[in-house]
Structure formats: structure tokens, C-alpha cells
Assembly symmetry: C2
Homo-oligomer: 449 residues x 2
Amino acid sequence: MTGEVAKAGRILRAPENFVDSQLALDITSKGLDEQRRGFLRKSFLAAGAALASGTAYGQAAGGDPAILTLPEHSRTLGKPVAANPYGMPSRFEGALQRRESPGLTRVNAASVSFTPLQSLFGIITPSGLHFERHHQGWHDIDPAQHRLMVNGLVRQQKVYTMDDLMRLPSVSRMHFIECGANTAMEWGNVAVPSVQYSHGMLSCSEFTGVPLSVLLDDCGYDKKTARFVLAEGADGSGMTRTISIDRALDDVLVAWGMNGEMLRPENGYPLRLVVPGVQGVSWVKWLRRIEVGDQPYAAKDEAIHYVDAMPDGMYRQYTSIQECKSVITTPSAGQRLLDTGFYNITGLAWSGRGKIKRVDVSTDGGRNWRTARLESPVLSKCLTRFNIDWTWDGAPAVLQARAIDETGYVQPKINELRAVRGTRSIYHNNAIQSWQVAASGEVSNVQVY
Amino acid sequence: MTGEVAKAGRILRAPENFVDSQLALDITSKGLDEQRRGFLRKSFLAAGAALASGTAYGQAAGGDPAILTLPEHSRTLGKPVAANPYGMPSRFEGALQRRESPGLTRVNAASVSFTPLQSLFGIITPSGLHFERHHQGWHDIDPAQHRLMVNGLVRQQKVYTMDDLMRLPSVSRMHFIECGANTAMEWGNVAVPSVQYSHGMLSCSEFTGVPLSVLLDDCGYDKKTARFVLAEGADGSGMTRTISIDRALDDVLVAWGMNGEMLRPENGYPLRLVVPGVQGVSWVKWLRRIEVGDQPYAAKDEAIHYVDAMPDGMYRQYTSIQECKSVITTPSAGQRLLDTGFYNITGLAWSGRGKIKRVDVSTDGGRNWRTARLESPVLSKCLTRFNIDWTWDGAPAVLQARAIDETGYVQPKINELRAVRGTRSIYHNNAIQSWQVAASGEVSNVQVY
């Protein structure tokens, strides 16, 4: 994975080809003064403001500072509109990818690709970089053929086409989705080398769909006996998950839209369940059936997998809510501070129980804390972006973030979590993450107790 | 443009290949009951729930209902994770494109491509479908070479690299961007045939960058004399726009991030100005220079272009704020209602002056109005999604939306706007839009006075 780490990038952001070039071309303040004087001396050569600002380019290109040249893109006709009817990132952003962690699973169709959190901004995850967790691979299903059945304890079972669904009252809401196994390696003291691999089973989108409650009402679910629903996917794994009827009637969506357009195939196109605050496995992709029942279904992926191993040898089932958590995304492990001075520490906070109330940041391993600035909007069961100023003096430092949600719950330290949960678990690790900054500027993943 | 209209799609959403297939394969309620009985008769064949829900597929594929077959994607191993390190939409969404309006300009590098609003959900515009308006084409500029100069009435002029900028305190905010010429054709009674072409110079993203005020402070702008700034782009058009110092110090961003990742090349990568509430031309792309001055610059694109022709033969300059406006995106012109019954009317509202307070919807050409439901979050100078129930009885109808912003401003009717502005203008048409539903279900663009 070492090769991958390099690709995960350094400060200030990931694509390392970009940052490396910056090092080579960095213009210091001193250099800038030189430049400016040169610019003023030679300004009679400039026909106007456009040329003037071209000085920086002339130098960056290695040319004689006395020769003021405009870059080619300021002198030529560019590409036409709709050259890309569906646009793509810059050619300089090619290193920004979701990445598999080789060897994590035996079959790459039943594996994970991680979102490159270290290089993202704000709270919206670009759909092309949304993390993936498949149990039997993904398909690009024809929406004209796809159907959703609602059956079980209902007055009338129904089969809906996509057109049927998309005529119904729809809502749009922003929510995070996090795999229950996110940050799993940290349970066992395996400090994975970047935030992409430690926390990258986390994404956030604006979802659009019909409330599941509308469909349950439409089919006349039995209010006396209905206590659970089962959601089932159409992929080969036939993923099935139990959801309580209270939750199903609350804020669960049968969604087709993600970030303004149709879901991507890897994220369940044309239909997936959105279960705000709950671990990703319950957000059943390629959703084809909802069954209403009177007891939990104890499906394979809730009775055997996705259970919490406890220190006494027992397993907790049906622990689905993603508790309050946060992580600093920049600076983070695998990045490097280029020099001392001012940095903007930034990261993400979220809670499956509601809104984030506060995020504190420490740069000395948890001895002192300062409250970070939260970007708006702060939404329920959604990522919240935080920022805080930091001036690095060149001494080793340990960076931590600690989130508090609107219920008053405080994100725990790893030793606090282990005291209750032990170290045998895979799931639901929401401990405070520590990043160590070395005197060299290298940032690495450490565990601080 | 007629061929283009077909591509703009019909109800419920655009890709017409999808909707057409739906027509061919529609399962009526009667058919469903038949299906269900068939399913129950044959259910001994089903090994479990997975097979059971496959009945719909067996029929949809045209097979004997007695033969229960699972679709191939439920029987096979799918594609691996990270098959697309940067994911793309489904192969079934190919018709969803930003499109040029042929003949609108003489050179396609100085033209427009429109966002397909009729097929989008929520408020976030997928970056691949963000509208384009270039004045001399677009380039994919190397961020390692790019520089931003701040000069003019400052204590120390400076040149910033991208790394310099990205270390500074950053903020993330969601804002709409609308071209001042959006909906221009409606001034002259030219009812363009779809909302993509009438309102598609409109997009909305989460932007991340450093407040311009931070850079102006960093360079020590002259508080006594500074009254305006000039923003200049690095493309061949050398786009330059004047912004008042009050606005520059308020909410303007020097942005590199859009929807979580770096700006797209067509949208100014690696740096653009974000001027919330102001027409798109001031959001200078490929931003390379900010000059602080004491008077407006009267640049070409503010003295001659982007001026409002008034009925008395005069022109208004520097009218930059996008006033309160809304439009129904579905159903909209070029779509077709497949049958009578329930529909979810949905659309977008926005104001350059702040938040949307209310959106009313009429289905009878403005005689009666009902208040629509606003999706959260409702943010300042950002798109707001509205939804409202409607049951179509099959009679002709005229659909309208009317937005009111937090200042109390009410979106005007087209005749109210013409009474003040005449019909010679190109810019700043924020009139109420009317869509006519014919008895056939066809939706078209009409002007209602």
C-alpha cells in the first residue's frame, strides 16, 4: 500500500504531481519583490493590464524575466462549449481517485474503494468519488426494466415502475453515508497510512426520492401488526436488511437522485434506500423489494456479519446508528507540511443522531482544545465542515478533532471506547483520530491514549 | 433546434429512451393483480424472497409469467470496486447533457451550453452538467503555473501561487450562478422550446475558497481611497469586471473548490471569483488579477455588453444583481404527461438579495395560487427546490411559479416587467414563466399576460 500512500498526496492537497510541481516553482516573498521590481522596470513594455499580470508566467516558465510573455491560454482561442457534453475534472487532477485497498478482501467485486477525503472540500462528495462497498459487484441496471415490490403485512401489495415512483411527492435532503466498518483497522492498533484508508468509507450527497412512508401508506401497511420492514437489493448478493417500522416511517427515502442527477450505477442506480444516520449496509442498493413484517428478519448480513464483537465474547446485533465522529482531513497522514507558518486545519464532523453542535481541535495531543468554525449549512445526519487557524512553529505536534452532537454526546478517545468495546470489533469505531506532525513536516497516523 | 427538443425529454424526466421504454413496458394496476395471482399460484417454485420479486422481471422481459426467472444482474458476479476510479453516470443516462443552442453565436468558443434543468433534482448541479458561457473558449490551465496578482491601491502588491492561497483560511458555501442573459429570448416573445434553453444558464454548487477580504487585508488595501476592484481572467478574452469594494469585502470568494473537488476547467480551473447574487459574468474564471481602484473601470464587458436596453433608448450599466426568480422544471416545455392523475410539480427559486421566503404555484395561469413546500436547506443566494402536489384531470392547464424573497420582493409577471424595461433588453429577465399543458399532455412554452 506504500505506493498508494504517495498517491494519497501531501499538503496542501492530494494530487502529488501538483504539489511537487509547486515545490519546484515556489515563488518566495523575496522572489516576489524581485519580480515586482522587474515588473515595474519593464512595465513600459506592457500594452496593458493583461500583459502585466503575465510576468509571473514568464518567470514560472523559466524564461528571462525581462521578456514579458503571456501564457498560451491567454493568447489563443480555447475549446468550444459542450466540448464535453458531460464534463470531467482537469487533466491535472488524475491522481484524485477512489482507491481499493489491495488484499482487504479476497474478491475485488466484494470489496471497498475509499473516498479521497484528504483532497476534498466542503461537505458534498463528488459522485465520481463516492466510496464503494459491494457484496457481489455492481451492475448498470436498465431503469425501464427495474421494479420495486412492496409486500408482507400490507392491504395490497404493489409493484412500482420507476415512472410510478417518480410521479410521487419527492423530497431532497443532504445526508452522510458511512460504512459501519469505517475506521475498522484502528481497533487493532493498525494505523493505516492515510485518511483515505482510515475514514474514506464516508461520503455525503444530496438525495432525492419518495419517503418510504408514502409507499407504506399507499400499500396500506397493517398499523396493528407491522413492526419491521425488510429491504432487499437486486444484485447477486441479494442484500437484505431489517429496519424498524418507526424509522421506516420517519426519515427513510426510496431515492433515485444523488447530487442533482440519477444515482450512479455503483451507488444503486436506479433505486436505493436512504436511511439517514444508519450504517451504509442498510442503504440497500438496487432496491427491488420492501417487505413489512412483525419481527426482525435476522438476515445473514445482520445476524452473522455487521455485528459488534464485545470483550466478553458476545456479539451485539442490530447496532446500526453511526455515532458522533469527526476527523481532520488536512493536514492528515501521508501529507507533508512544506514549511512553518500559517495553515488552515480543516475536517469533517457528523452524527447519526442529529446535528453537530461543536468541534474542538487540539494540536498538542489533547491537552489543550480550541473550538473550530463550522461552515454552514449545519444539517441533521449530514457532514459538517470545520476550519480552524493554526500557525506551525516547526515543532512536533499531534492534531486531533473532537465532535459534540446536539444530544450532548462527546466523541470518545480510543481508550475510552476500548474500555467498553474491547479490541476484537470491526464495526462502529468513532474514536478521536490523531495525526502526528514530525519536525520534518511529515504527517503520520498515531494512536494517542 | 427541434431535434434538440426531443432530446430534452418528456415527463417524468428527460432521457427519452428511458420514458419511451416505460410506455412500452408499463404494468397497469390490472396487470399487477394478474401478476400477483400468478405469483401466488407459482410461489412453490420460488426458493425464497429473492426469486419472488423476480416475477416482475420475468413478465417485463416478455416471458411466460409461469416461468420465474431472475434478471442476469441478480444471478451473476458484478463489476469490481474502483472499476471506474472516477465514476460516471449510467449508460442509460446518455441523453442527459448540457447542450449548445446552435446559431446563438457565430463562434462556438464564444457561446453557451445550457444545463438540463428539466431532469435534475434538488439544488446541487452535477459539475459535469454545469452551464458554460465562454468569451474566447476554455483551457485546462496548469495550477502549478497559475498565479494570482493583487495590485493597485494596496500597500504591497503580491503574487500568490495556488499553494499560497490554499493555506489561507477557507470557507465553503452553496450559491447559485446565473448568466445575466438567462431567459433572454422571452423578452422578445420568442418562446424557446424547453426549460433547458429558457433557464439553463443557471447552476448551483458548493464553492470553497478564501474570502477576497483576506487577500485585500493581506495586501493592505487603502481604506481611504479604495472604492472598487477589478477582476481579470487569464483566458484570451481577458475578461475584466468591476466590483464595488463593499461587495468585495462582504461575501466574495476566490474559489478553487466546487462541489467538493477542484473547479472544472470549463468553470475556471484552478481559480475563479465567486460573487454571490451577482450575474455570472462577474464570477471571473481563470482568475489571475485583482486590482484595487477608486473608480469603476468601464471595461468592455460592462460598458458595451451586459447593459440593459431601456424603452427610452438609454442603457443601464452595472446592473448586476440577479433579482428574485423561479421556474417549474417538471412538468416543463418539451415534456409530456403520460396520463391523468397525480403529479409532483417541482422547480427552483432563487434571489440575488438573500433567501427565498415563499413560492406559490398556479395551475390555471395565475388566477389561483397555492404555496409550495420548500426543501431544506433554504440558503442565501442559493437555489431553493420547491415541490407541490397536483392532480391533473386531463383539461388544458397553465403552470406558473412565483417566488418571494426575504426582502419581500415578488417575482413579476412578464407584462409588469415590460412596462418598466420594454422589450429591447437581453439581460435580467426574471419574469414568471408559463408552461401550457394541452389536453394531449404535451407541455409547451407560452406567454401569459
